[in-house]
């Protein structure tokens, strides 16, 4: 494989994986606190449109990302209020959030449809970008790509090394005991859910401001759901989220490269397009079959409501 081809595949894979990593890490923290929020698709959609609108009006993509983050948080706040304060069924509330978010984003985004943003110049990291093969692919990327890597480290450190992270995991394992020791279960779950919303909003912002860059109805195109799958795929381990996201992104990119390479392959395009989804199922099966790893890493109280005074 010649250098430019390898570099392009790697570059495109990293770009495709980035929104998945950011969103999935947010969801991972939410789930570690015992809350199952099935709403990333909706939160990403609303984040994407909010970021796009603000970037379009201010011309500042960073304000756009901030707007995406806030929008994602507001959406997750809605969910948190339903699921944590009103103790509604988390699965149903999450589904409602997804459906509502996708609809709402289409609704507010109407006037931004097909308005184009100038594309944003990538951020080149000196020296590292000069490494042959991988340098141009990894270190000449959008700032949010580096952010996604830093986020992996931060989340891992937070969950396993910090005190608050320990409490958060304790809440996810057994909210009843955590409550008895005096930890504010509901507050921690609120914060974890808001963090998940904020990251989904950033993931959506990456799509509309950096990746495409444009807004169209339905542009999140299932990436929120795939982020959810990635969390299970990663057995709630931050580092493995990255591997999963790049595998998924890679599967999507590679099929295009196969088509564009001039190789005389006569495989239906639909077959190639289905590969990432098939791969997700296969990996999910491979990981889930080992009950021990799942039990070891999955928060025991995932999806169960908690009533402080019960």
């Amino acid at each position: 494989m010649d250098q430019s081809l390898f570099t392009s595949i790697l570059f495109a894979t990293v770009v495709a994986g980035t929104p998945l990593i950011i969103t999935a890490l947010g969801e991972l923290v939410t789930e570690k606190s015992g809350v199952l929020n099935l709403g990333p698709e909706g939160m990403m959609s609303v984040g994407a449109v909010a970021a796009f609108a603000v970037t379009h009006h201010t011309g500042n993509p960073w304000l756009g990302i901030l707007a995406g983050m806030v929008a994602g948080m507001l959406m997750s706040l809605l969910f948190a209020f339903m699921a944590l304060t009103l103790m509604a069924n988390q699965v149903a509330s999450g589904l409602a959030l997804s459906i509502f978010g996708v609809g709402l984003s289409a609704f507010i985004g109407k006037s931004y449809e097909s308005v184009a943003l100038p594309s944003i110049v990538p951020m080149r990291i000196p020296l590292l970008a000069d490494i042959p093969y991988i340098g141009p692919a990894l270190f000449q990327q959008q700032a949010l790509v580096y952010f996604s890597w830093i986020l992996i480290g931060l989340v891992a450190w937070f969950l396993y090394k910090s005190k608050v992270g320990l409490i958060l995991r304790a809440v996810g394992e057994s909210p009843v005991s955590a409550h008895e020791i005096g930890h504010p279960v509901i507050l921690i779950r609120y914060l974890a859910t808001l963090f998940g919303g904020a990251m989904a909003g950033v993931g959506g912002a990456f799509l509309s401001v950096f990746y495409t860059p444009m807004w169209v109805e339905g542009m999140v195109a299932g990436r929120g759901w795939i982020s959810l799958a990635l969390v299970v795929f990663a057995t709630w381990r931050p580092m493995r989220v990255m591997i999963g996201a790049y595998l998924f992104g890679g599967a999507m990119i590679t099929q295009m490269f196969v088509q564009g390479s001039g190789l005389k392959l006569s495989i239906p395009a639909q077959f190639l397009s289905s590969l990432p989804y098939v791969a997700t199922i296969v990996v999910l099966v491979l990981i889930s079959r080992n009950l021990k790893t799942i039990r070891l890493n999955s928060p025991a109280s995932l999806g169960q409501p908690f009533l402080p005074d019960a």
């Binding site: 609809g103 289409a106 799958a229 077959f271 889930s288 005074d309």
Partner: protein, 355 residues
Amino acid sequence: MWLKFEARTEPSLLMRYLSPVLAVFLMLICGLVLFSVLGKNPMEGFKVFFLNPVKDTYGMAELLLKATPLMLCAVGLSVGFRANIWNIGAEGQLLIGALAGGWVALHFEHSTSPLLLPAMILAGALGGMLWAAIPAFLRTRFNANEILTSLMLVYIAQLVVSWLVHGPWKDPDGFNFPQTKQFQVHAMLPLLKAGTRLNAAFLVGIGGLVVGWVFMNRSFLGYQMKVAGQAENASRYAGFSAKRTVWFGMLAGGCMAGIAGLAEVAGPIGQLTEHISPGYGFAAMIVAFLGRLNPIGIFFSSLLMALLYLGGEQAQQYLNLPSSISNVFQGMLLFFLLGSDVFVYFRPRFARRNK
């Protein structure tokens, strides 16, 4: 002051029936506000959105037609949902059901047998069940989460449909356009009222609701599944099979969704194309929750959801509002319902915050 909730000793029966009404009421209020924010006369908006679609017989028939696939999918899903089996892939099961039933119609394209339609419905049901069996198997054998596998299978099903109508099943006289031949008259569901599009699938839908009601309320397996959903440990203690619950919950959803898919292609569409369902499988989840996972409730909630769809079209044509307004209404409705539900199990109390 701090809003607190106290558990009721017993779920409030009154609130259980009142909360959907409350949710609809809240949605209407928000709708009126939304219309005025958008600069439309709220009363005019209400009329166009909620009354116009059903102003004549044809409109009523369209409402029932649109509600049919929703009620079919929702009643099947609610069997699983009651037992905490989260099949969110009804959309894919619907598509595969449509393919299976459509295959029968295309394969026996010259048949005049009265058995053709029943065979198509059966094939539709089997197709849907086959697609639902995959997550059921992966869940029971490998413990793979059915929420994610059933969802991934939706995307795969869409690609299967796309491949078949672009490829092997393409109408040879159709100038290579992505669609099959049109079904012949014997493979089409009979109309219930001439001049409308309402067909026999509506009766199948009602039948599905009845069967669902009997199963949930009168059968032992239905009882077991309800217990499994409400108290997993108790159910295990009683020796109820968790695997059977998963299988049955998934297959019920797949079966009904498959029939819904067949009803679309052998009804208003009349052939297989890439555009069989505008997301009925996902909307049916809202219908199921809104109907309290109860067939009688589902009947009404499917009508309401269908009305929201038709209203969205009208709002576009006569008020110049984007059609996504339907989704906004649907999402709001579900939120309000889930929110109002808190009063079923809990009593609100305003109390001074005490540490």
